[in-house]
Symmetry: C2
Subunit: 244 residues, 2 copies
């Protein structure tokens, strides 16, 4: 548990590879994660070749981790395998819908996080790529994902070549509610975000971007309403195109 | 990592409670999980009172874990808190859309799985309730979730009062693809599902339900097309009603 408390996202990796034995051991450990009805509605695509990583890089806005990490894992919702099994067993599957898109994403994300915890315990470093849901169609194409398979997150893995500082988190009481949800008063928000807003690096982001507040750095620069709405549209269309 | 390899879902709990200190320590550990842009797009509602658990029970089809476990944690997508912060900081948020429903679900599920791994390492047992996305509106009502907050999974936690056998998993090669997705031939499916289909408990499910194949137990009894389509509709409507 101490390792989990001290974990950092690692974006720079040594050139050293990860052995097949270690990678398979970590993946098998991850697959012990809970899964809906023991259906394992996920697949994991392991990209290790330079060509494979280069094919994925544009979908991730060419973040350097994709080509520098020895292993790139794309965690996918997968109702295709289970559906194939049903079809070959005189059963009529009904998993091409929104419920199973969401249930498959739960399955895939629990496996992803178990993989990361096991990898970090083994001394590896990981980075999640949120870009996966920004450009799903490009990933679907690069990895030849068939209908009812959908990329939900990506993890780059390798031996750490940096020791970043621990990042901030909101106070626990900001994210945990007792019994029922308790809404936030303006003074709650002030109190919970005060530390984040006081950090030197965040003050610098405000200055560099010519903004008044840190929140404006998020809404005007990092994750704008316009971009989010466009991404929502393409994410929804990609989901439909994959048959959900 | 050995603990992760040997983990079992626990559905029966001792009456012994979980101390606030331990629960908070586990929750704080879980919050070290990766999160998109360090935005922490999640909230966790901890239900410990008998009344609170009774209010949640119908949404989970009265599965006994809900009322018997000392702690029930509902992990929610939460774009409300971040949106409130933006509004109070002269920033224009754009997180009321499908992209952030999915991104928030990634955030919430990584925290949920980190919580479970930490809890199991501390000797606790957990059970995920997939029913969360079957009846989201009932949970939204019971927990008073405001717009832009959505329950994505539920975990019951307590000290184990059973020692179930390790459940089966598909062979690793059935769920991991090298470089790109490789589709399954009928003989792949036969090979990958052979062990599951050979298990005594599964043969018994087939017999008890008067079916020909295990797949038919899933499609005709456990997760039917009709139910899935109805749940898809209510899940989508609940998502829209919460403002995404």
């Amino acid at each position: 548990m101490n390792k989990m408390k001290q974990r950092r996202t690692i974006r720079k990796y040594q050139s050293r590879d990860i052995s097949d034995d270690l990678l398979n051991d970590l993946l098998a450990t991850a697959c012990r994660a809970s899964t809906c009805g023991n259906m394992q509605c996920y697949s994991i695509v392991a990209t290790r070749s330079a060509e494979g990583k280069a094919a994925l890089a544009p979908a991730h806005f060419h973040q350097p981790m994709v080509t520098q990490a020895p292993v790139v894992l794309t965690f996918c919702i997968d109702l295709h395998r289970f559906t194939r099994w049903c079809e070959l067993r005189r059963a009529t599957p009904g998993y091409n819908n929104f419920e199973w898109f969401v249930t498959g994403s739960v399955d895939a994300l629990l496996v992803a996080q178990s993989f990361c915890t096991a990898a970090e315990e083994a001394g590896l470093g990981i980075c999640y790529l949120g870009t996966t849901t920004f450009n799903p169609q490009a990933i679907i194409d690069a990895l030849h994902l068939p209908p009812l398979v959908f990329p939900i997150t990506t993890v780059t893995v390798g031996w750490p070549d940096e020791e970043p500082a621990l990042t901030d988190r909101l106070p626990l009481e900001a994210v945990v509610h007792q019994e029922t949800y308790h809404d936030y008063t303006p003074s709650d928000i002030d109190r919970f975000y005060a530390y984040k807003e006081s950090l030197q690096e965040n003050l610098q982001f405000i200055a560099e971007n010519g903004k008044e507040t840190l929140a404006q750095v998020f809404t005007d620069v990092r994750y704008t309403k316009k971009d989010s709405e466009e991404m929502s549209k393409s994410l929804y269309e990609a989901m439909k195109r994959q048959g959900f």
